[in-house]
């Protein structure tokens, strides 16, 4: 079986800033991969390149063997790439349930006229979608908030609405941009459990950007480390977090004395 996602020599600059330089990466289905690195290392830019927000200056991105560079965002999404955002981007004006349903709407194929007339097959499709959306909400544990507006929910729950919205269409690749930011330790444990469960259940590939090493270490099978747009190293969690280069990038030049051989694995 071919790879789920292959990236070769990806580069992107904004003005004079080279946000991503010559990055290559690959992952299989049913695998959790993490991208870590300090702020401004180009992690989110990689997500934006994959999902088609930006066009790369150079490099290739293959999704299930097909080149997706230059395709518009919505086409890439419909191929089975879904994502969450670093600074939550839920739709204001829609309820939690409607937010999740929106991710299915692009796939429903009733016409404007059946929508305006409320024809039976429109209602049938909408009903099926609603049930799927409710199921996704149940998975993330938000069933009872279905009719709330997302802006009324606390931050942690908003993150979960975004997660439900991202998984409801059963994508092949799920990209999570700092999904654990702002969670307290008990929420964090629950969240890690949830991601592991999702992978078990749906078998999609998950690409995570994260700062918190606990998430990265417990979940991912492979870690890519970015620094200033460059790929610093990649490997299994144990290898990566004991790598002195990585520790230096993360904690700073003089860190060896302070942390005293402590690896990132215990952070």
């Amino acid at each position: 079986m071919g790879k789920l996602l292959e990236i070769y020599n990806l580069s992107k600059s904004f003005g004079g800033v080279r946000a991503v330089r010559d990055v290559s990466l690959s992952m299989d289905s049913n695998q959790i991969i993490s991208i870590i690195g300090p702020n401004g290392a180009g992690k989110t830019t990689i997500f934006n390149l994959i999902s088609g927000v930006y066009k790369p200056d150079a490099g290739r991105i293959l999704f299930m063997g097909k080149d997706i560079v230059g395709k518009p965002q919505h086409e890439i999404a419909r191929m089975g790439v879904s994502r969450t955002f670093q600074n939550i981007r839920l739709f204001k004006g829609l309820t939690v349930l409607e937010n999740v349903m929106t991710a299915l709407d692009a796939y429903s194929n009733y016409s404007l006229f059946s929508a305006m007339l409320g024809l039976p097959h429109k209602r049938q499709i909408d009903k099926t979608n609603m049930l799927r959306a409710l199921e996704a909400l149940q998975i993330v544990g938000l069933s009872k908030y279905r009719d709330e507006h997302p802006t009324d929910l606390p931050y942690g729950l908003q993150r979960r609405v975004e997660l439900a919205r991202a998984i409801v269409s059963q994508p092949k690749l799920l990209m999570l941009d700092e999904p654990a930011a702002g969670l307290n330790p008990s929420e964090l444990a629950a969240f890690i459990g949830l991601i592991a469960e999702l992978k078990q259940r749906f078998g999609f590939g998950i690409l995570i950007i994260e700062h918190r090493m606990q998430v990265v270490n417990e979940l991912s099978e492979h870690i890519y480390v970015l620094n200033f747009g460059n790929l610093l190293t990649h490997g299994k969690p144990q290898e990566v977090c004991n790598d002195p280069e990585v520790i230096k990038a993360y904690i700073g030049e003089d860190s060896s004395s302070v942390t005293n051989q402590k690896s990132l694995c215990q952070l």
């Binding site: 904004f14 989110t44 997500f47 934006n48 999902s51 927000v53 955002f85 670093q86």
Partner: protein, 295 residues
């Protein structure tokens, strides 16, 4: 149809553009600090044009006094515009729709206050110039065109100097880049915004007098020139002063050209297609740079 005819047209177009420039620069100033267009601009313009007209009627003001009165009134009206339709919104909301509704309503309000007082009749300014034309060789030139061009050039020159050399100008430029940091640096943002509105309003007042000299005054010129100001601002690249200046010149010339080719009544059709094609070719405007959306 000879050389002198085209020369007159050219001068007419340039002076037309100068008038737009006065409107558009005020527009761009406010856009650059608010990041949203003030659609009440035409309302301010028409109000101060009528107040200038009153000055000529009541105290028999000459051109300079009329300009001063209109500029002052425009500035003061625009301060009211800021306080009423922008002040609270700036603090509480970032929703574009609200700024739009608020400023457009303010513009309608101003325009209809004029209608209430002057009941929609047509008025015109007295003739400020003793002669309408002067001749060089056998070509005659319209004096008002030249005067407007000269006045516009002087005013815009002063404005650019103020923006580049004074502390106030620095504050405005800082505000247009980053309002939060500017306020953290100890600049009184509200004051700078008010002052900017005053300046833009004064420019609108001057433009109002120009419109009054060029054509007959009616309350509808408020909405008409709001539309034109918006077009120029978009062509120039929203928020850019230099862009607005060039765009004004281009639109002034294009409009004059179309009114010759298509006739005055069909000129807006030509202008519309021109704007449309322009935006298609260069959607960011003459000077504008798109801010990259961050995901």
């Amino acid at each position: 149809m000879n050389f002198s005819y085209y020369l007159q047209l050219l001068i007419g177009g340039v002076s037309n553009g100068a008038m737009y420039a006065i409107i558009a620069v005020g527009w761009a100033l406010i856009f650059s600090i608010l990041k949203f267009s003030n659609f009440a601009h035409g309302g301010t313009m028409v109000c101060s044009a009528y107040l200038g007209l009153l000055a000529t009627r009541i105290i028999g003001a000459n051109l300079w006094l009329t300009l001063a009165v209109a500029a002052l009134c425009g500035g003061l009206i625009n301060i009211l515009v800021e306080l009423i339709s922008f002040h609270r919104l700036r603090k509480s909301s970032k929703q574009v729709l609200l700024f739009f509704v608020s400023s457009i309503t303010m513009g309608m309000l101003l325009q209809n206050l004029v209608t209430l007082r002057f009941s929609g009749l047509f008025y015109s300014y007295p003739n400020f110039f003793k002669q309408r034309f002067f001749r060089i060789g056998n070509i005659s030139f319209d004096i008002s065109n030249f005067m407007m061009l000269a006045i516009a050039a002087v005013i815009l020159g002063i404005l650019i100097l103020v923006l580049q050399k004074t502390r106030f100008g620095m504050a405005v430029r800082a505000l247009s880049v980053d309002p939060r940091t500017t306020s953290l640096m100890g600049v009184n943002v509200d004051l700078v915004v008010l002052a900017t509105f005053f300046i833009a309003g004064a420019l609108a007042g001057v433009a109002g007098v120009f419109v009054g000299i060029r054509t007959i005054l009616s309350p509808q010129i408020g909405s008409m020139y709001t539309v034109k100001g918006f077009m120029v601002a978009v062509i120039g690249g929203l928020g850019s002063l230099n862009g607005a200046l060039f765009a004004s010149l281009i639109l002034g010339l294009v409009e004059t050209a179309f009114s010759v080719i298509l006739g005055t009544s069909l000129a807006p059709v030509g202008t519309f297609f021109f704007v449309l094609i322009f935006l298609f070719l260069r959607p960011q405007g003459l000077a504008g740079v798109f801010a990259m959306e961050k995901a």
